[in-house]
């Protein structure tokens, strides 16, 4: 338990350590699979086949990944401002609600080129609202953001269900869901987009939101590392006091970071509500906000890492769904278990392995000064 941080080469810290922690999580999952009498190798093979083995599989994988890009980025942006936003779940619900309100109100009247951007903006606006309130409370009242965002998840869920059951429900429909918004409110599926370009692609839930996810990845990278605003945000996350001396207002940055974070999480509502369901349903977020935490942790809070981690989790969700059909007794909850283990090893215990890896590295690393040192010591 030495307090001296052993120097680690950057590439080990950024690449080997996450992969090592990921391998640990997979290893423990393999032990669980063995314990319940299933073959980890068979599961892995089927997982890969289900998620990447066919065009439809890849398409589903990308559809899940789209959602995780949004929630992963949401966690990462807040993280860079020194905040832990656990509220992605609630912010995503509000995003779906925002999209739905516009879809219900104008779905029959507006053309798609006006309606779809309006839905995206409405989703982001409600997401911003739902994240900025905890942000303001943290910045100006000192309320712990982790607790307030958790509370806001529950409040969002209660609000969504109240609205669905009492206000927005389609008359005559037994389940709590709204009526369909209409064709203009449907974000085109990728089979249609690629079909227009002459590429044949199977019909899946994958829709043009995936392009929005790509744009969000690039925009977040530009914002955080290539803009003054992003610099101010990261400065506050790194050291609020130093930032204040540099003329940056930490309170404003906290609210701004949460607002951006909420807007990103809200886009889940676009992928699910505008892209797939075309109506508001109750449980369209289904834990994606929490998956975003795992995605951001394993992606080291960087857009590139988040893109890769989202692909990983998209593949796990799609592969897991396939596996539940293929193997008797396999439950998709195995994927949730793995997700929890990834948060455990890559998040909470990330630094447990670091000193060990560092020592392993220095044992084998080339040492340019090693030959000169003994002479100096004797002299």
């Amino acid at each position: 338990m030495s307090q001296h941080q052993v120097e680690i080469p950057r590439w080990i810290d950024l690449v080997v350590l996450p992969l090592f922690n990921l391998a640990l999580a997979f290893g423990v999952s393999a032990i669980v699979l063995l314990a319940i009498g299933q073959s980890p190798l068979q599961v892995l093979a089927l997982l890969v086949k289900g998620s990447f083995g066919s065009a439809a599989g890849i398409s589903y994988t990308l559809y899940y990944s789209t959602t995780f890009v949004f929630t992963g980025l949401a966690v990462a942006v807040a993280y860079h401002a020194g905040l832990f936003n656990i509220g992605g779940e609630g912010q995503a619900m509000m995003g779906g609600l925002g999209a739905a309100l516009v879809g219900l109100a104008f779905g029959a009247h507006w053309p798609a080129w006006l309606l779809l951007p309006a839905m995206v903006l409405a989703a982001m606006a409600l997401g911003v609202l739902w994240a900025a309130v905890p942000g303001v409370l943290q910045a100006y009242r000192g309320s712990h953001i982790v607790i307030t965002t958790i509370m806001f998840n529950f409040i969002a869920s209660a609000l969504l269900i109240y609205l669905l059951v009492n206000v927005l429900k389609e008359p005559g429909n037994m389940s709590p869901e709204t009526r369909a918004f209409g064709a203009a409110a449907q974000i085109p599926g990728m089979h249609a987009v690629l079909g227009a370009l002459g590429v044949e692609w199977p019909r899946t839930p994958l829709n043009a939101s995936v392009l929005l996810a790509l744009a969000a990845l690039v925009a977040t990278w530009l914002l955080l590392w290539r803009s003054q605003a992003g610099y101010a945000l990261r400065a506050v996350g790194h050291s609020p006091d130093a930032a204040r001396y540099a003329g940056i207002r930490p309170r404003t940055q906290i609210v701004v970071a949460m607002a951006i974070s909420g807007a990103l999480a809200a886009l889940v509502g676009i992928n699910e509500i505008a892209g797939v369901h075309n109506r508001l349903i109750a449980d369209f977020v289904a834990g994606a906000g929490f998956t975003g935490i795992a995605v951001s942790l394993i992606g080291r809070n960087h857009p590139l890492g988040i893109a890769l981690a989202s692909l990983l989790f998209g593949a796990l969700y799609q592969g897991g769904a396939e596996l539940a059909f293929e193997i008797q007794g396999f439950s998709r909850d195995m994927v949730f278990t793995l997700q929890g283990l990834i948060v455990l090893f890559a998040g909470a215990m990330a630094q447990v392995a670091a000193p060990w890896l560092a020592r392993a590295w220095w044992a084998v690393a080339p040492r340019p000064r090693a030959a000169a040192l003994p002479e100096a010591a004797h002299g």
Binding site: Q339, G340, L341
Partner: protein, 327 residues
């Protein structure tokens, strides 16, 4: 009048039943947070120990083994929590999320593999379940008007864990505020460097608090399957761990405050269940009672409190920060 008394008794009874796991869980949170360790893993610890208690109860048919196994698992999870966050200074919030997420997945995976009932355990045999206490006095009181339904129906005839939870509130209060151990625990949460300087191990204090936290969370989990529900159901905690966390904050990190908050939250829940489908009086618009608003009220109240609009909740000063000894 009798009807009112009967309704009052029913509400009191269901408030106590709903509040019991919250009380146990909030006490667990109070212990660890007072020593400086955030516990967002309460939900997961409760879920995992509930599954453990149910599985062992079904497999062994022994109440003692079921509760014992749950407590052992609770302590083990808390020690893992300590290993990651106290010894290795991992992020406490992330650790809590990890425990909760893993527990939510693993309980279902193992449940399906072992019992093949979609993640549920078989119903736990009556012989293993917790008995009702004070049923005799309750029956004796039943004839008495007013007192019978309210006291007999409301306060008596619950399972042992309901009374145990109330007793544990007193015990935790006594330990925290009347013993040397409690003073050290609270000091560890406020100013660990001072505790260290006094020659007391900060890490030891935090591990000890976490052990107590594991036991209490395990009791909460056991109560869910041995008293409240007939068997384990996937994700049966349904946010109770977070509500307990809210109650702990609402109670300002004090065992008695947590008790009152849990009773309030339990009451709201009992009322919400009772009001399901009821209609508002005409002067309030006459629509259906917004049950969801009552269910969301504990969280809203906690946010308002945290924002400092109804009194101020001060968290332990060193909460969430790992202790690094100066060299």
């Amino acid at each position: 009048m009798d009807e009112l008394a009967l309704a009052l008794g029913t509400i009191i009874a269901s408030t106590l039943r709903v509040a019991t796991p919250l009380i146990l869980c909030a006490l667990a949170g109070t212990l660890s947070e007072r020593s400086g360790v955030i516990d967002l893993g309460l939900e997961g610890k409760m879920l995992a120990t509930a599954f453990c208690a149910a599985s062992v109860a079904v497999a062994s048919g022994s109440l003692v083994l079921a509760i014992g196994a749950a407590i052992a698992l609770g302590i083990a999870l808390s020690m893992l929590h300590g290993f990651a966050c106290v010894s290795h200074r991992g992020d406490q919030v992330v650790m809590g999320m990890a425990i909760t997420m893993t527990a939510a997945g693993l309980t279902v995976v193992l449940g399906i593999a072992w019992f093949k009932q979609g993640g549920q355990t078989p119903p736990i045999p009556d012989a293993v379940r917790l008995d009702a206490w004070f049923e005799g006095p309750a029956a004796a009181l039943a004839k008495v008007p007013l007192v019978g339904p309210v006291v007999g129906g409301g306060l008596l005839g619950h399972t042992a864990f309901v009374y145990l939870a109330l007793a544990l509130v007193a015990l935790v209060w006594w330990v925290l505020y009347r013993t040397r151990l409690g003073l050290r625990w609270r000091a560890t949460g406020e100013n660990p460097a001072m505790v260290d300087a006094a020659g007391v191990s900060v890490l030891g204090m935090r591990y000890l608090a976490l052990a107590g936290n594991g036991v209490l969370a395990a009791l909460a989990g056991s109560y869910l399957v041995l008293a409240l529900n007939p068997q384990f159901i996937p994700n049966m905690t349904a946010g109770r761990g977070y509500m307990a966390l809210a109650a702990m904050i609402f109670g300002k990190w004090h065992p008695l405050g947590a008790l009152l908050a849990c009773l309030l939250f339990g009451f709201l829940d009992a009322l919400a269940i009772r009001m399901q489908g009821a209609v508002l009086p005409a002067w309030l618009g006459g629509g259906a009672v917004p049950v969801q608003a009552m269910q969301a009220l504990p969280y809203v109240l906690t946010v308002v409190l945290l924002a400092g609009f109804i009194g101020r909740a001060y968290a332990p000063k060193a909460l969430g920060t790992a202790y690094v000894k100066e060299r």
